[in-house]
C-alpha cells in the first residue's frame, strides 16, 4: 500500500462566514408554465371535479392505470378504455412529515402515503396496482411510526362540490376507515 491518499489536496474555497456575498437572481417566479393536461389527465381531473376517480385499462395485460395514461407502458399500445375505481383503498406505505416543502418545521406533522385503490372485480398484487400519493388523515403519529397504518383501509374525503376545481386537491385526504 502506498503512503499517499488520493485525491491529493483536493481544491475548493469554503465559505466560512454565514453571510456571504451572493448574487441573487430569482428564477422561480420568472419561469412560468401552463402544463397541458392532455387527453388522459384532462379527463382524470374532470372526474375529480365530479367526485370520481377515473382510470384507464389495457385489455392485453389487464393493468389498470391510476393516474391514467392514454397508452399502456408495458404493451406499448393505446389503452382500451376508461373505468371508475373506488374512492377507497389500502395504505401501501405511509410516512409522517415534520417539514414543509421549503423544509421549515411544521407546527403539526402530516401523514402522507401511497394508496392502492380498489377496483370492483379486480385484484392486484404488490408489483403493479392503481395508486395515488395523497395525505392521510385520521391517523395518529404512532399509527404511522409503528407501521400499523400499512394495509389500513382508507377512503377519500372530498371537498364540497362547489369548492372543487378539477385538481388532485379536490380530495382533501384519504381518511382512515375505522372498522
Amino acid at each position: 500500500m502506498s503512503g499517499v491518499t488520493k485525491p491529493l489536496n483536493p481544491r475548493g474555497t469554503k465559505y466560512e462566514r454565514a453571510d456571504f456575498p451572493v448574487f441573487e437572481f430569482p428564477v422561480v417566479g420568472k419561469a412560468r408554465y401552463n402544463y397541458t393536461t392532455g387527453e388522459a389527465l384532462g379527463r382524470f381531473l374532470a372526474g375529480l371535479k365530479e367526485g370520481k376517480i377515473l382510470g384507464t385499462y389495457c385489455s392485453k395485460c389487464g393493468r389498470v392505470f391510476v393516474p391514467p395514461r392514454m397508452y399502456c407502458s408495458y404493451c406499448f399500445r393505446e389503452v382500451d378504455g376508461w373505468l371508475e375505481v373506488r374512492d377507497e383503498g389500502v395504505v401501501v406505505t405511509a410516512v409522517m412529515s415534520y417539514i414543509s416543502a421549503t423544509r421549515a418545521r411544521l407546527e403539526r406533522p402530516v401523514a402522507v402515503g401511497v394508496i392502492k385503490l380498489d377496483v370492483p372485480g379486480r385484484q392486484f398484487d404488490d408489483h403493479f396496482f392503481p395508486g395515488l400519493m395523497h395525505y392521510i388523515c385520521g391517523a395518529a403519529e404512532e399509527d404511522v411510526k409503528s407501521m400499523r397504518i400499512f394495509g389500513a383501509k382508507v377512503k377519500a374525503r372530498w371537498k364540497p362540490p362547489e369548492q372543487r376545481t378539477g385538481s388532485i386537491t379536490d380530495i382533501e385526504c384519504f381518511e382512515v376507515v375505522r372498522p
Partner: protein, 395 residues
Amino acid sequence: MTSRNLNFKHRVAVVGAGLTLFRSRLQETPQELAWLAARQALDEAGLTLKDIDCVVIGSAPDTFDGVHMKGEYLAEGAGGIHKPTVRVFVGGATGVFVPIAAWWHVASGLCKRVLAVAEEKMSHAAKPHPQYVFRYIWDPIVEKPLNPNLIWIFAMEMHRYMYKCNVKKEDIALVSVKNKRNACGHPSAQLCMPNITVDDVLKSEVLVWPVQLYDISPTSDGAAAVVLASEEEARRITDTPVWIKGIGWTLDTTHWTNRDLAFPEYVRRAAEMAYRMAGIDNPRKQIDVAEPYDPFDYKELHHMEGLGLARKCEAPVLTREGVTQRDGDLPINPSGGLLGVGNPIAAAGLMKVAEIFWQLRGEAGARQVKKPVYTGLAQAWGDLMQAGTVIVMGI
C-alpha cells in the same frame, strides 16, 4: 434484450481521476469547480487538454443553478470548448452515467481520450433551501399541487422496505455511522464524524419519519472528473490502467405510485446488463469492493440487494455483522459515500467511480480496503426512484 453483442471492438480504461473538496458552500462558480476537478484528473493522467478528443458532462437539475442549458454553460470549465461536448442526464444517477456515455465515445473508435466531468452546486438554491428546488421534479399535474417535500418519497420507500424486510431503524443507522466514519479518510469529505454512534442518528432531527437528519446526505457543492482512454492510449499513458468491464442502466416507469418500492428492480436490471458484459455470474463472490449509491442510509442496503451483493432483505444482516466495513469481506462505500463525503449530486456519483479507480490501483491510502481488490463496482440512482446506473471496473 440489451447488449446482444458482447463482441465490442475496443477496450476502454480509466487513466486518471480528480475531485474538488465537497462542502455545503464553495466560493467557486460551477465552471471553476468543473475546471478544478478536470485539471486534477488530467494531471493525474499526465495529459493536457490538447490530448483530449471529446468531453462528456454530467450535472443534475438545472434548477439548482437556475441556469438553463447548463451543459453549454459548463462546457468551458469542463474543457469542452472547440471539442465535441455532450451533457448526459439521468437525474441523481447521472454521476455514474457520465463514464458510461464516455465508454461508448471511446468504444465506438471515434474518440481516443475522453474527459468525463460532473459538477453540482446546490448552494445556489440556498434560499429558502435546496429541497425546495426538488418541488419541480414531481408530476406537475397530479403531485406538485400537494406541495410535497422531496424527502416524502424516499421516506415512503424506506418505510416500505422496513415493512417488507422487517428492518429496524437501528440497523439502517449502522450504515450512516459506517460511512460518516469512513469519510474521515477522505481528503474531500464534508462530514467526517469519527465518533458518531447509532444513538446520534436515532436522536437527530426527525424530518419525515422514518427519515432523520443523519439518515440523509448533506447538500453540497463539488465536482469530479475522470479520464478515459482506448486500450492503446491507456497503455501509453499508465502502467496501471483500470478497465471498464461492464456498463448497465435502466429506467423504471415514471409512475412510482403504481409499483412496489421495497426492492429496486431497476437496479437489478442495470446490474444484470453490466454483469453480463463483464462476465460476472456471482457478484457476491466476484465483486471485491463496491460503492453503491447512498444519499440515504437505507439506500445502501436497498442497492446492495438490487446489485445482488446481498439477497433480498439480507443487507442489514451483512451490515450488522461487519461484512461491509473497510476491513470486512465485502467493503461497501469505503470512500464514506454520499453520507460522509457529501452529495453534490452528479459529482457524488462520479466520486464513487473515482473511488473504485483509486481502490483498484491501491491509491486510496488511509481508505484502502484491507483485502486485495481486483474488481469493483459503482452505482448511482435517480429520478422518481426509477433510475439505476452501474459500472464494473477491474484491473
